[in-house]
């Protein structure tokens, strides 16, 4: 049935989520739902990718279809959520709030998957909103004060981002005269407000994607969520922001060298600064959160290249899809490794977890024979499209970024090792099932990018293998980190959340000022009937009024009298 699997991609998790909220289902059913939530999506991607489903009554009339970048995005989204769901089967053993967790997971996934099927701006925005609001429940799931605080920042910035996106979409739709996504980029580049629209879309989706400077929520929110939720937050929900850029930015229809350079600058800064911030973290999940920001920075560089040169845009999209896929599985494996470390009781398990963490780290950093290497060489080739000065700088930038990433992830492995050394018996939970599902995630991150490489539409960008020597920045990073540990170097610490903490403090301050100073003043009624009467009849004491007061000065009666006289005279012709 054409389109049936597309509908099921969204409807199955959505219905399951609603059912979870309305009924008391046994935990087995809930876990099963979380493990199988992406099955229809998988079928849709592999079996019937060209299906189209028209639903004129839905929202403002929508059509569901899988476009080209959407297919790959849906593939890794489905894959990662499934892995997280399987992992979560064992992770949520002792969870008392399983029902809420399941509902938020299912609804968030429904939104995340639905994004890639949308062909009009309204459906896209709806799924984006569903994903964002449901994920709040995941962020605050543990109900610790840190989680609540992170949740507040998350939702505040999410609403801010959604407002920017909404403005951008309204302007785009107005320029194009239709909400069809395929028509929007061309209309935007032809519009006189195109700079404003690009800014709105860039920073609006940038909140989700962790673009500097609107990234503040990320390092606070990703660590406090339960481990499988962190994995999907960093692995696939971030990519929704990237997908928004891919769909709505007008890179393919015109060249925007100014915006391209801005993206390059922001991306490069993020790639390096976030790597530094991550190295100084003490919590492995915070480290990984900064790594996500750093990697998204690299992807922003790709967007920047695509924006600055219209010919580069299709190649950039293809490459970024692959990069995102690689990063999603690898980041997922890394996050799940944090939980796996808590399940590794014996020595062999610990070595396995450490080795797996190193492998996943290599995949991201671009070590030899990994999907990451394919992505990085591809990016090097893409930078050939950049304007002249930059196309020389960029490859070196990528080298430095590889080095920084390796540094960052070496730190992560170090933190993992330390946490396993310092763990006590009571910390272990999850057991063999957890380790097993984590191994599955590891296998996915190593193998899947290889299997998909041929499907990416612009294979010309791929460089294939560099030799082992081409991965020298990665090895250098590892060596430098080892040396720094040996030499007990103490870098300046950056608190997890940097800008985010500042935003939280500022907003608390404003809220406090408002509720104590401004609001009470607005509540006091300054003018009321009694006030007016007292003002016009001076000297009236507030007693029971049983006497007539006709002897008091009738000021307002006099005013009334004069007005009526004037009106009457005017009507009589004077």
């Amino acid at each position: 049935m054409s389109g049936g699997w597309l509908a099921a991609t969204i409807l199955y998790p959505l219905a399951a989520g609603v059912a979870t909220l309305l009924m008391r289902l046994p935990p087995v059913v809930l876990r099963f739902a979380m493990a199988t939530l992406a099955v229809p999506a998988g079928v849709a991607v592999f079996v019937d990718p060209d299906a189209v489903l028209q639903a004129d009554a839905l929202l403002l009339g929508t059509t569901l279809a899988l476009g080209e970048p959407g297919r790959i995005f849906l593939l890794f989204t489905a894959g990662l959520w499934t892995l997280a769901g399987l992992y979560g089967w064992f992770y949520t053993r002792d969870d008392r709030r399983l029902r809420g967790y399941t509902a938020c997971t299912l609804l968030s996934y429904a939104g995340n998957a639905g994004l890639f099927l949308a062909t009009d701006a309204v459906m896209f925005y709806g799924c984006f909103a569903l994903m964002t609001f449901s994920a709040y429940g995941l962020v605050v799931h543990t109900r610790t004060p840190d989680a609540i605080r992170a949740g507040r920042l998350y939702i505040g910035m999410a609403v801010f981002g959604e407002l920017l996106v909404l403005s951008g979409l309204l302007l785009s739709v107005h320029a194009a005269g239709t909400a069809e996504i395929s028509a929007l980029p061309a209309a935007v580049s032809a519009s006189p407000h195109r700079s404003g629209i690009i800014a709105l879309l860039l920073f609006g989706f940038g909140v989700k994607a962790g673009l500097l400077p609107v990234h503040g929520w990320l390092p606070l929110a990703h660590p406090v969520a339960p481990t499988p939720a962190s994995a999907v937050l960093s692995g696939s929900m971030i990519k929704a922001g990237l997908f928004g850029w891919v769909l709505f930015l007008p890179g393919g229809t015109d060249s925007f060298p100014g915006w391209g350079f801005a993206c390059l600058a922001l991306g490069a800064t993020a790639a390096l600064a976030a790597a530094y911030a991550g190295v100084t973290q003490t919590h492995p999940k915070a480290n990984l959160a900064y790594s996500s920001i750093s990697q998204m920075g690299v992807m922003t560089i790709g967007i920047g290249i695509g924006l600055s040169n219209a010919d580069a845009w299709p190649a950039a999209i293809g490459l970024l899809s692959f990069y995102a896929l690689n990063h999603a599985f690898a980041k997922g494996a890394l996050f799940l490794a944090v939980g796996a470390a808590h399940a590794a009781a014996e020595k062999t398990a610990r070595i396995w977890v450490t080795a797996g963490s190193v492998l996943a780290g290599l995949v991201i950093a671009g070590g030899p024979f990994t999907g990451g290497e394919l992505a990085k060489t591809g990016l090097k080739k893409l930078s050939g499209y950049a304007p002249d000065g930059l196309s020389i700088v960029l490859p070196w930038l990528l080298v430095i970024s590889s080095f920084a990433t390796a540094l960052l992830l070496s730190r992560f492995v170090h933190l993992q090792w330390r946490s396993m050394q310092e763990a006590h018996d009571a910390d272990y939970h999850g057991g063999a099932g957890l380790l097993g599902t984590w191994t599955l995630a590891l296998a996915a991150c190593a193998a899947v990018p290889w299997m998909i490489a041929g499907l990416v539409p612009v294979p010309a960008v791929f460089g294939g293998f560099a030799s082992l020597a081409g991965a020298w920045p990665v090895f250098l990073g590892g060596l430098v980190y080892a040396g720094a540990v040996r030499l007990k170097v103490k870098p300046m610490r950056i608190p997890a959340g940097d800008i985010g903490l500042a935003i939280l403090d500022a907003s608390s301050g404003i809220a406090r000022w408002w509720t104590t100073s401004v609001a009470p003043a607005m509540e006091k009624p300054r003018v009321s009937v009694r006030y007016v009467r007292n003002a016009l009849i001076p000297g009236v004491p507030d007693e029971g009024g049983r006497d007539d007061r006709i002897t008091r000065s009738p000021v307002w009666a006099g005013v009334c009298f004069l007005t009526l006289v004037v009106l009457m005279l005017w009507s009589l012709g004077w």
């Binding site: 507030d542 029971g544 009024g545 049983r546 006497d547 009666a557 006099g558 009298f561 009457m568 009589l572």
Partner: protein, 102 residues
């Protein structure tokens, strides 16, 4: 013209006096009388309106409205008296407390 001005001023004066009394007198019966004074003022103005054009015959429509108004005022006063009686029976007070209801 002069007499018209005089009549209309008188009507306005009565109206305003009555209006003031309606709002600021607590005693129910006195309030009712103030309303009737207002009505008298309105009637005077209607008479003036009937004579607004300097012709031989006054406009009969305002006269008709005035007569109707007198009848309505009488019946409304009767009704209001009945309500006031009932109010006194129930609450025992002869006036309406205004101070604490602003």
């Amino acid at each position: 013209m002069d007499s018209l001005i005089l009549y209309s001023l008188a009507g306005i004066l009565l109206f305003c006096t009555g209006l003031y009394g309606v709002f600021f007198i607590a005693h129910l019966l006195k309030r009712l009388m103030a309303m009737n004074i207002m009505a008298a003022g309105v009637f005077l103005i209607l008479i003036v309106i009937a004579r607004r054009n300097a012709e031989a015959f006054p406009d009969p429509v305002p006269h008709a409205m005035l007569l109707t108004g007198i009848v309505v005022a009488v019946s409304a006063t009767a009704f209001a008296c009945a309500i006031a009686r009932r109010y006194v029976d129930i609450t025992g007070r002869t006036g309406v407390d205004e101070e604490d209801a602003s």
